[in-house]
Structures are given as C-alpha cells and as structure tokens.
Symmetry: C2
Subunit: 492 residues, 2 copies
C-alpha cells in the first residue's frame, strides 16, 4: 500500500448488471486497481447480480477474464488477481421476480454494519423495480447507497419518474448519479486551477474571457447500438449530461467549500442561469446534424442511416449550441458546445479563450498578439495546457510567439492517471457526493434541453448532414463564425 | 543570413578602450556573433582606439585572440573570423593630448554619412575629456551616438557632472547609457509577459501580489579590483543601476508604446515614487555588510579586508533594502532588493510572489495552499518559471501540489540566448534607446540612493559581516522575516 493511499471502510458492493459490459470493462478493472493499490480492506466484497444462472466459481472466471482483457499487462499481478477474485461473489436475481432475492439478502446480512453500495449498471427502466425489490427485502441499511448510471431518462419527465421512484427507497444523500467525466483528473484539476491559484480566479469572467468552447467528439459511429441510439441522439446521450456538467464546473462561482452540496448548489445556479433556447431562437443558436458516409482515419465509413438500416431518421448524431449564461460573471460570453459521433477524432476538451490584450504596445513590431488560452483535455491524453505569449529569443526587435505550457499530469508526475471510475467508486464508498449529480441538477439540465428538442420538432428545424470523419456540418462552422470566433481545431 | 535577421545600416563603431577587457570579453565577441548571423553590412567598420601604439595588423591579432578566447568553439568559423578581422581598424589616441585625433578624423571622414557610434569603454573620468576631443575634431555627425558604460559617477553630483559634460557635445537622443542587464532575454520577456498576455496585467498589483524579491548575487569576491571597489561598494556598483532598473521594469505602469521615451517615462515615475529612506529609517529598511573569510563551493575563501590588504574598510560588499513604491498600484507591497559579493552562488532573479488565495475551499483536505510565484532568472540560466498549484493525480481526495511551468527559452526554442551586448550594440546602431537609461532616470536613482548612503554615515549604521559563501548576514534574514516573508532560496 502506497503511503499516500488511505484505505476505505469495509464494504459490500452489489453490482446489478454484474455480467454486463460496463462491469467487465470498467467497474471490475477499476476495483482491481484500487485493490492493487491497497485501498480496499481485506474483507470487502463485490457481489455480482444478473439474470444469468452462474455459480460463484463461474463468476470468478468472468472476473478473471474481465481483468485479463481490460487490465494493462504491467498492472497484472497473479497474487493480487487471486486475492481480488476471492472477493467476488455472485447471486442470480432480477427485478421482475422474487427468486434469488432472499439469497441475496442472506448473503448481505453478514455485513449489515458495513457500507453497502448498490450499483445499477442496467437499463434505467430497471431502476424503479430494482429499488422496490431492495426495499421489499429490507436491504437498505443506514450505510447503504445506490449508484445510478446514465441515461437518467430521455427528458425532464422521464428523469423525474426515475428519480422519484429511487427516492421512495433512498434518501438523496444516498443517491450517487454517476457521470464518469467528473471523475477525470482534468476536471478535478479545473477545480484546483481555479480555486487553488491566485492567478486565475481574478480573470475568470467576462472582463477577461472572450468565449469558451466545450467539445466532446467521438470518432466511432453508433455501431450495433443504433437501435437504442436512435431513440436518444447526441443531445440526450452526451450534451445533456457530460457537456453540461463540464459547463457547470467551468462557469460556477467559487463554492465556499469543496463539498458535495456547496459545489452542487453552484452548479445548479449555472444551469438555472442558462438563457432559454426555444422555438424563437433555436435555429440561430443550435445546429443538429447526422453523419453520412465518409472516411475516418483513411478508411471508408458508412453513414448513420446505413448503420441503422433505415431509410430515414430524425435523430441527430451531432449537435452544436451557442449557450449563454445570464449572470454577472458571464453575461455576453458565449459558450460554444458541441458533440458528435464519427467526427475527425476522439477528443474531449474545454478551451477557455481569453480576450485580446486591451492595448498592444508592441504594435509596430509584432502585429497581432495571440490571445491566451487555457486548454483542458479530458481525452485521449488528459492534461492542461496554458498558452502564453513570450518574446522570440534573439537580438532583433520584440517578436512575440505563443508557446504552450504543458501541465500533462502523467508526464509531470511520471504516473499514469487513474481511470475515472476508480476515483468515483471510492467516492461512493467514502460517501462523498461532490462529483455526483444531485436530482435537482438533472432536472435543471433537462429544463434547458427539453425546449430545444421541442423547438426542433415544432420548427421542423433542418437536420444537416456531415461526412463521417469531418468536424461536423458547415452550419456548425457558421454558428461560431457568425460570432467572429473559430472552432479550436481550425484556429490552430 | 537567417531569414529573420534584418541587417542594420552601415556604421563605424569607434571603441575607446579598444584593447581593454570589456572590448575583448564582450564587445568584439558580440559583434562577431552579429556578423556571423548576417546582421552587419559588409562595409561596417570597427575602429579600436587606445593609448597603446598598435598597428592595424597588431589590432587584428588582438581581435583574433579575443575571439579565440571568448567565442564558443561551435561558433567559430574561419571565413567569418577572417571577414570580421578585416572590419577592424585601429588608431592610437587618448583624451589627454591631440596626437592621433587628426588621423582618427581622417579615418572616419570616409564614412561621414553613416551611423557613427562612439563607445566609451573607459573609466568615467575620461567621458568628459573624450567628448571634448570628439567635438574639437568635428567628429559629431547627425548620425552619431555615444555609448556610456557604467559607472556613471558615484553619487548624484558626480553623475550629473558626467552627464552635463557629455550633453555639451551630444543630444540626449544620441546618448546610450548601457546597462547590460536590460539586454537580457529575460528582462525583455518580462515586458512580453506583462504586456502581451491578458493573464498577467490584471493581477499585477497590490491586490494580488504580496511582495517582490530582486536578487543579484555574485559568488566571486573583489579579486584584484579591490582598490576600485572600495571606493564604490555594492550599493553604487550593483544596486543603483542593475537592481533599480529591474525594479523599474517590474513595477512600471504599461507604457503606451514599446518606445524609448514612453518606457523611460514610466520607469522614471517608479523611481520618483520610491519611498524615501534616510536618517530616520535607514536602520530599519537597509542592511549593509562585508564578507569575512568562509568557503565558497567547498573551497576556503578569504575575507574582504584580506582581499583588500587593509585593516579596516567602511565599504559594503552586500546590501539589502526593503523598498516601497508609493503609488496606487504598489502601496503596501514591499520590494526586497539585495546584492552582494561572495554569496552562496551566482544568480540574478526577480521573484514575484502572489498573495495567497483569498479563501481555501480545499481546507480540510489540502491544508495550506502554496502561493503562485513568477520567477524570472537572468543568470546563470535565463528563463521564466511560473509556479501553479494543481491536483496531485490519484483517486484519493484533493491533494494539491505546486509545479513549475518552465518557459526556459533555450529549451523551448532549441537555441542559445544571444548575449545581452549583441542586442544592445545592434540597438545602438538602430538608434533604439528603449533599453538604455535616460539622464533623468540616472539622476532619480541617485536621488533615492544618496540619502541612504548619507544615513549610513550620519547614523554610523553597523556594517554586519557574513561568511563568504553564505546568503549574507543574519540581519538580511531579519529584514525580510520581520515582514513575515522569507528569502526565495530559503523558501524552497
């Protein structure tokens, strides 16, 4: 155990959807890494639950295969893997019937005084019935909590239905709505940069910031998720959660403490201050689009309708929005948000563009002076880059040059960043909700998104197309250029 | 010629003291480097003048030896050296008699329409008589200028006498008072950082800056310069010029243009706004000291009196001052200045210490949050480092860590920094006085320094001692610690 790792309390983690894709790819590897680091007490248990009739030994093999496939070779340690598998138990059960639940209750009864976490790694339709079964079998202890994976509904109404159903069984202080973007090092570094440095907060406002861009770009298409995706779309699948959360953390006022409700109160204020976009202005402030055939990374890529196997769809695979926050700090500063599938590359980033200097004293010599930018990359390579202008070395005049100051964490510290789920799972066990969404935040986000969706339908707003492998439709470029700004990747 | 090098106009550079140490070590190598870079026109001439009865060929050998000794092997190029030596001419002459001056006039007559620069690399007592001879022999053309090396007098009165004598022959616009610190890349980068970035100017004031430290430390002693040094001391030799110039550039208001008089007007305002230190408060605000025997770099080092060969001296080899600038931007922000010989290492730096964050939201988790610092190193390795606080990577709480963001120029650009004299000599030829001191600046600096000297004598202020190889006397530590601050090297 590293000297800097503090063990969490003993816990039982019950993973519904324990044989699913998320469990195999993310949850089990993340728990293994924390175990390897010595953060998990020796008697903590991981209990997989799903419909599949597996034995404890079968599940051990599932866990073993998951680690084999999704843990880097360098992190594989036979002894640690054996110890980890010994933590894993399994109970077949599902929400639709009572079978298996008494056995689950019995299994858990030996840890009644521990932290007990129910992880709902299943479709949201099951959140309500699962909560009911948990209640029916008396599984909720004072130390219990529940983790909800997205999507939390497809609009305000359905999200409220889910939240209400869960709220009948769990207090809000027990509910952990997970958005793995918030577990990323870069996002937490945004907090550190803003609130642990004297330098940034004084210039973090409309006086000094020109505009902000938040991009979550995927290069993959919908693949075999087309059926689900077509009922959702880029706005609900990515913008309403990931991008709006990043927006909140970028724009919020300093909370008085780095604690769950203090932070979430400030995020909520941002969501409430977003200027409404609806029938009147959606065509000016938003762009929706669908990818058509093109090429990604030099290889031909099919279009969305082909991927879907349909003639027609009104679902957007790309959305760009010009958002504004109507408060003292941000009035007049546009936040350009965009997300899409089959874009030029996989990248998620927040780009804070500072205003130009107010007066160029180097006018004759240097021409236009580059603007400062702070670039927070969430993926693929997490890191923060501050771009500053310095003098080009040499005995001539005052030539200026913009250079990147790189705070890439892996490089600086010689360590690899932990996966977001590692942190977030440990926060669940620790009972720290700071990086999880509160119900009123989810509701407020939908209150902003729903009128945009409604406007698209009401106005029959055009669905643009863009070739797979591009940066979206030209309408997205037009959206930002009308404002005299340029998307980050074009501004390079 | 590099595509980014712009040739200067044809010129004749007359170096009085042409066979001296400064010419050999600095001026000739700097000119050679500019020649190598293609910045010097083919017909430009360098004319050495001194008492020594050398021929042109003799001087060619002197130049050749100087380059051999003081140019890095990698920069030596036989063809370029030969070309450079061909530019060099020589004329024996001195200010005390007329011999040689008619020949110098004849030599220069063939370049009457060129830029003509007289470089006074001689003792300041000769500045007046040299100027008179130059006038007597009609050598001042419209394109003429004169370069004055420090020291410019030993107090306000003697400096004014020198400036007045030079002013009888040259206009102020023709006078280039050189301080090679101002030619350093880092100093010019201070201007670029402050005035070409939106980020820094808004926090460059007493609201956000806690205090500033300026240190010019030498590890060498007085060596065989003791005779001269004992009539001068650290205050006159280093503080009144180098440190006060750095103070001005750090503290000045943004000039409206990066032009000579705009910049010098702002520097002058800083000098005028310095709070007076005199009989009343010199013992609180200043420390003077002399090195005694000690060890430097593991080797025993003699004390100042031994170096001097005397029983007693009242000359300081170290001075530390707590300065304050009485204006809106800086009221209440102490500027700690210090310079000395035989200190722990050779280093010159400006350290801008920002205030702590106004409120620590990470209180429970992170303890005290480090303050931001901007460190401008002038030597030995030029560079700028911005210290910021980021999150320590890892899935635990919000541990914070201060990391240095390095803007070291050589590293960033893969080039070596030009010597300060290279830039300054080219500025002389270009007629750009931005990085040179105006007469009223020199006078204002003395007006602040003279009362401190007078107070030391009037109050018989104690001369502390410090062991060679230390960071000065404990009284210097006490000076800053009384204010609740700590010298940079101790704060590491």
């Amino acid at each position: 155990m590293s000297s800097r790792t503090i063990q969490v309390s003993p816990f039982d983690l019950v993973v519904f959807g324990g044989t699913g894709d998320l469990a195999a790819r993310k949850l089990l590897p993340a728990l293994y890494h924390r175990d390897l680091a010595g953060q998990i007490p020796h008697d903590a248990r991981i209990i997989g639950v799903s419909r599949r009739p597996l034995s404890r030994e079968d599940y051990g093999r599932f866990v073993c295969e998951a680690l084999d496939q999704f843990v880097k070779p360098a992190d594989k340690n036979a002894e640690a893997i054996e110890r980890f598998i010994a933590r894993a138990d399994y109970q077949p059960a599902d929400a639709s019937k009572e079978a298996g639940w008494p056995e689950l209750a019995k299994l858990l009864s030996s840890g009644a005084d521990r932290v007990r976490a129910f992880y709902f790694a299943v479709a949201p339709e099951l959140f309500a019935p699962l909560s009911q079964r948990i209640q029916q079998f008396g599984l909720v202890t004072p130390g219990s909590r529940v983790v909800l994976e997205k999507p939390l509904g497809k609009d305000g109404e359905s999200a409220r239905a889910v939240n209400d159903a869960v709220a009948e069984v769990f207090n809000e202080s027990q509910v952990f709505r997970i958005d793995h973007y918030l577990g990323k090092e870069t996002v937490q570094n945004l907090m550190a940069l803003r609130f642990a440095n004297r330098l940034f907060e004084p210039v973090w406002n409309s006086t000094h910031i020109d505009h902000v861009q938040i991009t979550v770009a995927e290069d993959i298409g919908v693949g075999d998720r087309g059926g689900y995706y077509d009922t959702s779309g880029a706005m609900r699948d990515m913008l309403q959660n990931h991008i709006m959360q990043l927006l909140c953390l970028t724009a919020m006022e300093p909370p008085d403490a780095f604690e769950a409700d203090a932070v979430r109160d400030e995020k909520l204020k941002v969501l409430k201050a977003l200027k409404r976009i609806d029938d009147r202005n959606a065509d000016q402030m938003t762009v929706r689009a669908q990818y058509r055939a093109g090429s990604v990374g030099g290889k031909p890529a099919t279009g969305y309708l082909d991927d879907l196997g349909r003639e027609d769809s009104q679902t957007e695979t790309f959305v760009a929005i010009r958002a504004e926050i109507a408060n003292w700090r941000w009035a007049g500063v546009p936040f350009f948000l965009r997300t899409g599938k089959r874009l030029a590359k996989r990248t998620s980033e927040i780009v804070v563009n500072f205003r130009p200097i107010s007066h160029n004293i180097f006018d004759q010599m240097a021409g236009r002076v580059s603007q400062n930018r702070l670039i927070l990359r969430l993926q693929p390579d997490e890191g923060v880059t501050l771009e500053v202008t310095i003098k080009d070395p040499g005995p001539g005049g005052m030539r200026l040059r913009r250079i990147p100051l790189d705070m890439s964490f892996a490089e600086t510290f010689g360590v690899s960043n932990p996966d977001a789920y590692e942190r977030l799972l440990m926060d669940v066990i620790r009972g720290n909700q700071t990086l999880f969404m509160r119900a009123d935040e989810v509701a407020a986000a939908w209150r902003w998104v729903d009128p945009i969706h409604a406007a698209w339908i009401h106005n029959d707003q055009r669905i643009h197309t863009y070739p797979a492998g591009s940066w979206g439709p030209s309408a997205s470029v037009a959206l930002i250029e009308r404002d005299g700004r340029t998307w980050f990747e074009d501004a390079e």
